[in-house]
């Protein structure tokens, strides 16, 4: 409604300007033109003023928001600490698992080679190719092997239980990371508001194809530029480069 009346007024003024120019009344035409420009400037200044006020109020609102100071003073440092704890926890779990594996593999090897040796003797016995003294030595080997198997299987059971328990890190770190995600989303909402107020000046995106920037592990759903999809892709790329 208002816009319509402004447009009509402009059209009227333009008609008057045209009439003055056609009539050769240049002085009056110039005055008319100056008045028209002045009105445009006034509207522009009003608009700039309004935007400045809005920005000022929004910035004040942003800075005075209790949540923002809480986020800046406590939650972000806390989040960094939590994420460091995630690294520590996952590292401990990996080491606990590796310790158990390192202890277990040689035991499995001993069981396997013991069974192998006994198996050969047992075959000879079943084919009645065994002397009495060999039989005595085999029966001693059998009881030694049974002791070994009892001991090793107890240790293996304990080590595997360690591996099982070490996987608890997933629960702990998952919960911590979820909290940090919630904080990131909160901050994101506030930043989006700030960007909306300051307009579209920050359109530049990170250059994901710059090889100087290390992206780290591929995360599904995150734009990391042109990345390979696993080892097969790497091999294809390498062979296309003459590897």
């Amino acid at each position: 409604m208002l816009q319509g009346s402004i447009d009509e007024r402009r059209i009227d003024m333009a008609r008057e300007l045209l009439a003055l120019l056609e009539a050769g009344r240049n002085e009056q035409a110039d005055a008319q033109l100056t008045q028209m420009c002045g009105e445009m400037d006034a509207a522009l200044f009003q608009e700039v003023g309004r935007l400045t006020r809005e920005l000022h109020e929004a910035m004040n609102g942003f800075l005075l928001d209790d949540r923002v100071s809480e986020i800046a003073l406590h939650e972000i440092p806390d989040a960094a600490e939590r994420l460091r704890y995630v690294i520590t926890t996952t590292e401990q779990a990996a080491h606990a698992t590796l310790n158990a594996v390192e202890k277990s593999l040689p035991l499995a090897g001993e069981l396997s080679s013991g069974a192998e040796t006994l198996g050969e003797a047992w075959d000879r016995f079943r084919e009645r190719r065994m002397t009495v003294s060999d039989f005595k030595s085999m029966s001693e080997d059998i009881s030694r092997f049974l002791d070994l198997a009892r001991g090793h299987s107890k240790v293996l059971h304990a080590e595997l239980s360690e591996v099982l328990m070490a996987q608890g890190y997933q629960d702990i770190t998952g919960q911590i990371i979820k909290r940090v995600i919630k904080l990131v989303e909160d901050v994101e909402g506030r930043l989006v508001n700030l960007v909306r107020i300051t307009g579209s000046r920050y359109q530049q995106h990170k250059d994901h194809d710059d090889p100087a920037i290390l992206e780290g592990p591929v995360v599904p759903g995150i734009n990391q530029g042109s990345v390979v999809e696993g080892q097969d892709d790497v091999d294809d790329l390498l062979s296309s480069l003459g590897f």
Binding site: T90, E91, A94, H95, L98, V101, E102, H208, D209, D210, P211, L214, E215, G216, P217, V218, Q224, G225, S226, V227, V228, G230, Q231, V234, L237, L238, L241, F243
Partner: protein, 124 residues
């Protein structure tokens, strides 16, 4: 066969060390970035280098370039084992003279295959 494993995560170094032991390579040593690795390589008579890319201090690609620039080390086979998966980076590594590229997470079979490939090429 004396092998140097370079990664800033000690767990990854242990995993690689264990996989190498399974493959019969028992003479392995560790460093946590390029700055620590380079002097070890220069004085240690190593036969093979396995390195991560993204490490604080000196990165794996800079270590690779330093190895290629050093007359005594230039011929050493180098395998990058890294989470960095951008095509530009793989091309960059090839241009820097890498002998193999394994992306994390990887399997024992993949590591074995790449190591065997490197040694068969070096032997040829």
């Amino acid at each position: 066969m004396k092998i140097l494993i370079v990664d800033d995560f000690s767990t990854m170094r242990r995993i690689i060390k264990n996989l190498l032991r399974d493959l019969g390579f028992t003479n392995t040593h560790e460093a946590d970035d390029g700055n620590t690795a380079l002097p070890m390589l220069q004085s240690g008579n190593f036969d093979f280098l396995i390195s991560d890319w993204n490490m604080p201090g000196m990165t794996g690609i800079d270590l690779l370039r330093a190895v290629r620039a050093d007359a005594n080390l230039a011929a050493m086979p180098v395998l990058l084992v890294t989470a960095e998966s951008k095509r530009e980076q793989i091309i960059e590594a090839v241009q820097a003279g890498v002998n193999g590229y394994v992306v994390k997470p990887f399997t024992a079979a993949t590591l074995e295959e790449k190591i065997n490939k490197i040694f068969s090429r070096v032997a040829a």
